[in-house]
């Protein structure tokens, strides 16, 4: 247990920070610890958590994805057209929405892998395209989403928010796939050293496509869940999801240099971000001062994660 904690020090520290922030949030919330408060928090956290997982897959293979928010927006908008009517048509709609997400991810992946374009440039461009399509499809927020389904997925059962259950299931499945399958380990391998992975006989290009495709898939899950929570399709949500997803993976100990981190870390990072902004909302601070304190708490959390630097005895380690 201790070795596990040491090896995953960044996740552990992030989790501790989350617990402290959450306790603070509950303490100042006028309704305190209640199913209602926790469900709202969990729903919001799940939205950003899924976005962070989508970002994680790309960052894992040394990329950065500026189109995550746009894919979420596009799939959310598509959901607002397709996720209603008979159960069959909803199921069909789900399939279409998720396929679109995977396709968006693969477009990014193909440009990066076969086009040799830098991920940041690629996704800047494709992000514009995906977001643009969303805007053309639905210039103003609207649409309709099956309310029964929304209720089932956003409320709580026996005091446990359904969103938390969904998030945990997604995490468990992903952790299994990443740690126990050759493809999952392969993703870590190419993030760690593409050359070594190639020399080891891994299919580097194919694995990269898997990473980008998975990112698109999870982004589509996020987009779908946005539809469930908001009951509308909104093309304008992209920028905040993109930026927060990057902040979340960094907070959660995922290295932007690739090969290090886990979806669990990304989700913890997302929950920290969400909790900080909720904390601000109920803090009673003047709204104009809130961004300043939000930034301050964020900076502190990042600094906590970097404390390990002081334990390094050989300076050479700092530059590895």
């Amino acid at each position: 247990m201790m070795t596990w904690l040491r090896q995953n020090a960044r996740e552990t520290i992030a989790a501790l920070a989350l617990v402290i922030l959450f306790a603070g949030y509950i303490a100042i919330h006028p309704r305190g610890f209640s199913t209602y408060v926790v469900t709202i928090w969990s729903n919001q956290g799940t939205l950003l958590g899924l976005a962070a997982i989508a970002q994680f897959f790309v960052v894992l293979v040394k990329g950065i994805d500026l189109s995550v928010g746009s894919i979420i927006a596009l799939t959310n908008v598509m959901g607002s057209f397709l996720l209603n009517g008979s159960p069959t048509s909803i199921a069909l709609g789900m399939v279409v929405v998720l396929t679109v997400g995977v396709a968006c991810g693969l477009v990014n992946g193909i440009a990066v892998v076969y086009g040799g374009v830098q991920p940041i440039v690629t996704t800047l461009a494709t992000g514009g395209i995906f977001g643009g399509i969303a805007l053309l499809l639905r210039p103003t927020p609207g649409g309709s989403i099956d309310e029964t389904m929304s209720d089932a997925l956003t409320y709580a059962v026996a005091g446990i928010p359904v969103s938390a259950v969904i998030l945990v299931i997604v995490l468990v499945v992903l952790l299994m796939l990443l740690r126990r399958t050759a493809v999952g380990l392969g993703l870590y391998a190419i993030g760690s050293s593409e050359q070594s992975a190639y020399m080891t006989g891994l299919r580097v290009n194919r694995l990269k496509l898997v990473a980008y495709g998975s990112s698109g898939f999870v982004a589509a899950l996020a987009g779908t869940y946005v539809s469930m929570v908001t009951l509308t399709g909104d093309p304008n949500i992209a920028p905040s999801y993109t930026l927060n997803s990057i902040a979340a993976v960094v907070l959660g100990g995922v290295a932007l240099s690739g090969g290090v981190g886990s979806p669990l870390g990304a989700v913890i990072g997302a929950l920290i971000l969400k909790t900080i902004s909720s904390l601000m909302f109920f803090s009673g601070l003047p709204p104009l001062a809130q961004p300043f304190f939000e930034g301050l708490i964020l900076a502190t959390a990042i600094a906590l994660g970097a404390l390990g630097v002081f334990r390094v005895r050989s300076r050479l380690e700092l530059y590895r």
């Binding site: 090896q7 126990r180 399958t181 870590y188 760690s192 070594s196 020399m199 080891t200 006989g201």
Partner: protein
């Protein structure tokens, strides 16, 4: 199995018009260890890369057991049983040792990697003498020699039919090399064909059955081990007879020569225990011992890389404790360090030859301005000639140079600062004989000019023939100081294992 020989017929390969291999015929057979010898640039690496599927021949055919093959990636080669262990390590630094090995040939059930594969990985590690490396350890935390062992274990784990080892043992101590050789002999018995590239002649003598010499991209000659003397082989490699590899022994440095570097009672983080040593002007002082016994750390401690070093380190009477690399390299102190791994610590791979050479001198100029009077440029030019650096253009990326020439650039970048004390960490690792000879002569000359040279090395010959004195490290402290007639291979090995203090020794 017996017919699974590998054959190359008039294979040629060139890079951008420069021929790397010209009309090479070559054959190696199962159940034999075949050594490939040649200078850097002789075409050995190109040969290996062709066999391993990293590159494809421009002309000619490669066949295995009479069947012509064409591999378009290392993966295809591995599927056909050809596994290559390259000098540039092919490990993923952030992954665990176990994952690194298993990924080479994962066996899955319903998509999940079988747990039993990790047991086999463990067995492969134990086999090559890496019992002390846990499966769960991150590769990035391992020493160079541990990484080489993992790399070898990874190759063995894949159960190759043709195993190619390119300088696979360059960072290993003699004991570990012996263990690895045991494994190679076992594989040989099982009918594996082994290609072995090494610059260490005695290793080739110890393991190889046949030797092929390459020169300038051509296959010169193949013969059985023992058919030719070492001198003859070296002659074949360089196309002329080599004078002594080592320069003639210098007269001992008098006790009156001033002490330049003085290290007293230095300890650090449990890895250095009360280390004291000294180097006089004009001396070449060796640091030997088994791998990772503190030799590397004491170099880092002197150069100001480590935090929390206790004890006293002085250079020409100046206390160095607490000073960091940017400070100790200044001319008033005059310390220089040639690091262990030239690819990651010695050079910036994406920069040109000239940029790399100017890097160390940059910090000396006022306000970081480039050196305006051109004095260091002139010195650089002088050093390039002195080191006999061979290069296309100084503006070429450093990666286009051979390993030996890259090491010369690392030396040049520090020597341009005219250091008073030069620290070298295994400077001839994986370098061909002629370049080694050049570096040895250079070090001797530098010492004659009054520089204090500290040479950490894994090569016993180097310590014996080059050094005035050798400190042998064992578990973080100096186990023995050897000088003069006491400086012999037997004494070094004995002291490395500390057999005088602990009967039986610890390898």
């Amino acid at each position: 199995m017996a017919d699974r020989y590998v054959e190359l017929k008039s294979v040629s390969k060139s890079y951008g018009g420069v021929p790397a291999l010209t009309a090479v015929d070559f054959r190696c057979e199962p159940g034999r260890v075949h050594a490939i010898l040649g200078e850097n640039g002789a075409g050995k690496s190109t040969l290996m890369k062709l066999l391993a599927g990293v590159i494809q021949p421009d002309a000619g055919t490669i066949s295995i057991g009479g069947q012509t093959v064409r591999f378009s990636s290392p993966r295809e080669a591995a599927e056909q049983g050809t596994v290559c262990m390259f000098q540039e390590l092919s490990l993923m630094p952030h992954l665990s040792v176990g994952d690194n090995i298993v990924l080479a040939a994962p066996r899955t059930r319903m998509g999940m990697i079988e747990r039993s594969v990790y047991r086999e990985a463990r067995e492969a590690l134990d086999l090559v003498g890496a019992k002390s490396i846990p499966l769960g350890a991150r590769v990035s935390g391992l020493s160079l020699s541990e990484r080489q062992l993992v790399e070898i274990a990874k190759a063995v784990f894949r159960k190759p039919k043709l195993l190619i080892l390119d300088e696979a043992t360059s960072a290993l101590t003699s004991e570990l090399v012996e263990t690895v050789f045991g494994v190679l002999r076992m594989l040989k018995e099982q009918g594996v064909a082994i290609l072995f590239i090494s610059h260490r002649m005695h290793e080739v003598d110890a393991i190889a059955d046949r030797i092929s010499v390459f020169r300038n991209g051509r296959h010169i000659e193949t013969f059985d081990v023992g058919a030719r003397t070492t001198d003859e082989i070296v002659g074949l490699m360089i196309g002329r007879s080599l004078e002594e590899l080592f320069p003639p022994r210098r007269a001992p440095v008098p006790d009156t020569a001033p002490v330049v570097l003085n290290v007293s009672n230095v300890s650090w983080a449990g890895q250095l225990v009360d280390v004291s040593l000294a180097a006089r002007a004009g001396e070449i002082v060796g640091l030997g011992g088994l791998d990772a016994q503190g030799q590397q750390q004491i170099m880092h401690a002197v150069f100001g890389v480590l935090r929390g070093v206790t004890g006293r380190i002085t250079l020409n009477g100046r206390r160095l404790n607490g000073l960091r690399p940017p400070r100790v390299k200044q001319s008033d102190i005059g310390l220089a360090l040639v690091p262990e791994d030239r690819k990651t610590e010695g050079l910036i791979p994406s920069m040109s030859v000239a940029q790399n050479m100017r890097l160390a001198v940059l910090g000396r100029a006022p306000f970081g301005l480039l050196d305006l009077d051109g004095s260091s440029e002139a010195r650089l030019q002088e050093l390039i000639e002195r080191l006999a650096l061979s290069y296309g253009s100084l503006d070429d990326p450093i990666a286009t140079l051979s390993g030996g020439n890259q090491q010369k650039v690392v030396l040049a970048k520090w020597l341009v600062l005219s250091p008073k004390c030069l620290l070298l960490m295994d400077p001839t690792r994986g370098i061909d004989l002629p370049t080694k000879a050049q570096i040895y002569r250079l070090l001797t000359d530098l010492a004659a000019e009054g520089m204090a040279v500290i040479l950490q090395s894994t090569d016993y010959e180097e310590l014996i023939h080059l050094c005035d004195r050798v400190y042998v490290f064992y578990r973080g402290s100096v186990a023995k100081e050897l000088t003069g007639d006491h400086l012999s291979a037997d004494a070094l090995i004995a002291a490395s294992m500390n057999v005088h203090l602990h009967a039986g020794g610890q390898a």
